[in-house]
């Protein structure tokens, strides 16, 4: 972006990054700042409300959504390192307030300013990083999270960034558009079917021969890495933001401190 005054991004950290993997949020901030944004992280944020919303607890979700709408009302953009949280805000908040017009309009306004991280960098900022200085030491594959893919149109953006910023050519996994079996509360309600789905996903990931599986949604990544750990499979699992920002000092998701 060439404007003199950087526009302000409110980072929607997501509860999973906040609690389990702060490095994803720090990497996101680093990337957004590199791309010329002023980043703020409002402290009032907690959770977008998906767990309740997806089980149909609409009345309990509305106050949470209102809290997010209030908290993020003053930013030019709202960016989340997650397709599913961004999708929740962009598509499901307006639907939640169909019968409350004054909130519906506010939800729509927020929706129009809300982006998934990689899509924001590519589709909004048209971010062009300099040529990568080193060639990648590891090989990578990528899992497309369903909400990112279908609700937020995230497909090429992370691939484009990985290539342009880090010189990474992905080893694509088969059946990449099939769900990994996380599905929020689904994985706990129907563990056996979820197990089959995540095992299939893991098989596809291992079949690529890649060292590292990347993705844009911590829910999927914790699911896949958790299954890999259970089976004793060697597969490093990371959020794409960590690789883009080269924040790779700590272990991958679900891995012990070496």
């Amino acid at each position: 972006m060439s404007e003199a005054q950087p526009r302000t991004v409110g980072l929607f950290v997501t509860c999973l990054a906040d609690l389990f993997r702060p490095s994803v949020a720090f990497s996101s901030i680093a990337l957004l700042e590199q791309a010329g944004c002023a980043v703020e992280v409002p402290q009032q944020q907690t959770c977008c409300g998906q767990p309740g919303y997806n089980t149909g607890a609409f009345a309990d979700t509305r106050p949470l959504a209102q809290q997010v709408i209030e908290t993020f009302s003053d930013y030019d953009w709202v960016v989340a390192p997650s397709g599913s949280c961004a999708g929740m805000i962009k598509h499901h908040y307006p639907a939640l307030f169909k019968d409350l017009p004054e909130w519906e309009i506010r939800a729509q306004e927020l929706a129009a300013r809300t982006w998934e991280l990689t899509s924001f960098l590519v589709d909004v900022l048209d971010y062009q990083a300099g040529q990568p200085t080193t060639s990648p030491e590891k090989t990578y594959t990528y899992h497309d999270g369903c909400a990112g893919l279908r609700e937020m149109g995230v497909k090429q953006q992370p691939r484009q960034l990985l290539k342009s910023m880090q010189g990474i050519e992905l080893m694509e996994l088969e059946q990449t558009e099939v769900c990994c079996g996380f599905g929020g509360t689904f994985c706990a309600k129907m563990p056996e079917i979820s197990e089959k789905m995540v095992s299939d996903k893991l098989d596809c990931a291992l079949a690529t021969g890649a060292d590292v599986l990347l993705g844009g949604d911590l829910g999927c990544l914790m699911n896949i890495s958790g299954r890999a750990r259970r089976l004793g499979q060697e597969l490093e699992v990371r959020h794409v933001a960590e690789v883009l920002a080269q924040d790779l000092d700590g272990p991958g998701i679900g891995e012990g401190e070496a």
Binding site: V13, C15, D18, L19, F20, R21, P22, S23, A25, F26, Q43, Q44, Q45, T46, C47, G49, P51, G52, Y53, N54, T55, G56, A57, F58, D60, T61, L64, Q67, C146, R150, E151, Q175, V178, C179, G181, F182, G183, G184, T185, A188, K189, M190, P191, E192, I193, E195, K196, M197, V198, D200, N223, S225, G226, R229, R230, P251, G254, E255, G256, E257
Partner: protein, 474 residues
């Protein structure tokens, strides 16, 4: 059909415990979506056509009484009769009466999900009629005495070898190889040919009813519908009230989406339009023509938040693309309609009490809605059904309370930060060395099949605050 949708998880378990079946379904779950994708790409204007058909269906549903009345008038004008059935019992009674009136002994049946819904075959058999399914898939599962596992391919769960063994056991035809699919088809054809010729009544389904001219459209790949409409004296078309469309061109627009979505073919092998009894100049055709239209709670769905479900054209694409359907198998759903469309329809047609597990068999991945040729927002409808499940107290209490607690805590950011900070610290300490926990209190569903990745340490918010403090000091 006896319903046991609440046994979903147990039946899915049984299905997954059979490795050959699992492999067979997995293969179909890969090849069918690939084939459909190619067929849709060749069509070129899927999105426009889908929008067009959606608009037509919506218009028809908004004026359903008008188009149904018009359809009936046209059928009468062509010498046929339309019967209206509010529920399964009325439906089965009407069909049985028609059979009795003609002293029918033998009934030939084409594939019809409506008749599965009303359990027509069992009803007719109970009253002494011999009923033969003539669609090859339906014939196979009739021999196996199993319900269909898919709405387009009833024997979806049967491998070629399963069918071979079934034919060898059930057909008393002596020693033979039956080594390949072709010889299986030949054998079934030979047996069914005699059934067609002997049938007193032919019963078929419909993919669309055309209001403008009173014709019904049916697609088959075997031509069995045509034999059933021309050879027996009496021809009965079974359909539901949501199948009506205004004009012939609407039915053909639907056809272009339906066949590609169902089997990836450009055109079904047979696409037939049935228009009443034999006329004076006709060389063949039935003496009597009946249409039996079933409501079965569809008029309750009309005008409700689930109305979009009535656009469903029964192509089965949502099944083929659903990893849960592929994983659990069609029989796990415990009634007539499986997969995403079944998880919506079953609660609406039979009641949530009998089926509230089904709307939970969804990760909201959205693949079904993406491929649905009627653009039905299936994940949204399933979520609405989960909301009803919750409101009616059918979902497990610990889930309701747990999520209520979460929603309450998430609205108190300070308390949330303190509490989550403590829990995260604890989890980090427990899982630090391994990086993941093998078991975790209250997380049985998760840790039963996978480790629980441990948090990195402090929460982001704690670290961020610390950083802000340090920066302000500098």
């Amino acid at each position: 059909m006896k319903q046991d949708s609440l046994q979903f998880l147990n039946k899915a378990h049984d299905h997954m415990a059979r490795p050959e079946l699992r492999q067979h379904m997995d293969r179909l779950g890969v090849t069918l979506p690939l084939a459909r994708e190619q067929a849709i790409a060749q069509l070129g204007n899927f999105e426009q056509l889908r929008e067009h058909v959606k608009n037509i269906k919506n218009h028809t549903l908004e004026n359903l009484d008008y188009y149904l009345t018009r359809y009936e008038e046209q059928v009468i004008q062509r010498g046929g009769k339309v019967h209206w059935a509010r529920n399964a019992d009325e439906f089965n009674g009407i069909v049985l009466d028609i059979c009795k009136k003609h002293d029918a002994q033998r009934v030939g049946k084409g594939k019809s999900m409506v008749t599965e819904e009303t359990d027509l075959t069992a009803h007719l058999q109970h009253h002494g009629l011999e009923v033969t399914e003539t669609d090859l898939g339906e014939y196979i599962i009739q021999l196996a005495e199993e319900p269909p596992s898919h709405i387009v391919s009833p024997a979806f769960h049967k491998s070629v070898n399963d069918i071979r063994e079934l034919f060898l056991e059930k057909h008393d035809l002596g020693e033979r190889e039956l080594a390949d699919p072709d010889s299986l088809v030949q054998e079934a054809r030979q047996i069914l040919r005699a059934k067609f010729l002997a049938a007193d009544v032919g019963i078929i389904g419909a993919n669309a009813l055309i209001a403008e001219d009173g014709r019904s459209m049916l697609v088959t790949n075997e031509g069995n519908g045509d034999l059933l409409s021309t050879l027996p004296k009496v021809h009965i078309v079974c359909a539901t009230i949501d199948k009506v469309l205004p004009r012939p061109e609407d039915a053909t627009a639907l056809l272009r989406l339906l066949v590609r979505s169902a089997t990836a073919a450009v055109m079904s092998a047979y696409t037939s339009f049935y228009c009443g009894p034999r006329g004076e100049v006709d060389l063949d055709g039935p003496e009597e023509f009946h249409v039996v239209l079933l409501d079965n709670r569809r008029s309750d769905i009309l005008g409700s938040q689930y109305e979009e479900m009535l656009r469903c054209m029964r192509c089965g694409a949502c099944l083929n693309h659903c990893p849960i359907y592929i994983g659990a198998g069609g029989h796990a759903y415990g009634w007539v309609y499986p997969g995403p469309m079944g998880s919506v329809l079953t609660p609406l047609l039979t009641g949530l009490e009998q089926s509230h597990t089904l709307p939970n068999a969804c990760t909201a991945c959205g693949r079904c809605a993406e491929v649905c040729p009627a653009a039905i927002p299936l994940p949204d409808l399933l979520r609405d059904l989960r909301a009803e499940e919750r409101e009616r107290g059918l979902s497990p209490l610990h889930w309701r309370l747990g999520l209520k607690l979460h929603a309450w805590l998430a609205r108190l950011p300070r308390l949330y930060q303190v509490l989550t900070g403590l829990i995260v610290r604890l989890l980090h300490l427990c899982g630090r060395r391994r990086g993941a926990l093998r078991s975790l209190l209250l997380s049985n569903g998760w840790t039963q099949v996978r480790d629980f990745p441990a948090p990195q340490g402090k929460t982001f918010k704690q670290q961020w605050k610390q950083r802000q403090r340090e920066q302000s000091r500098e």
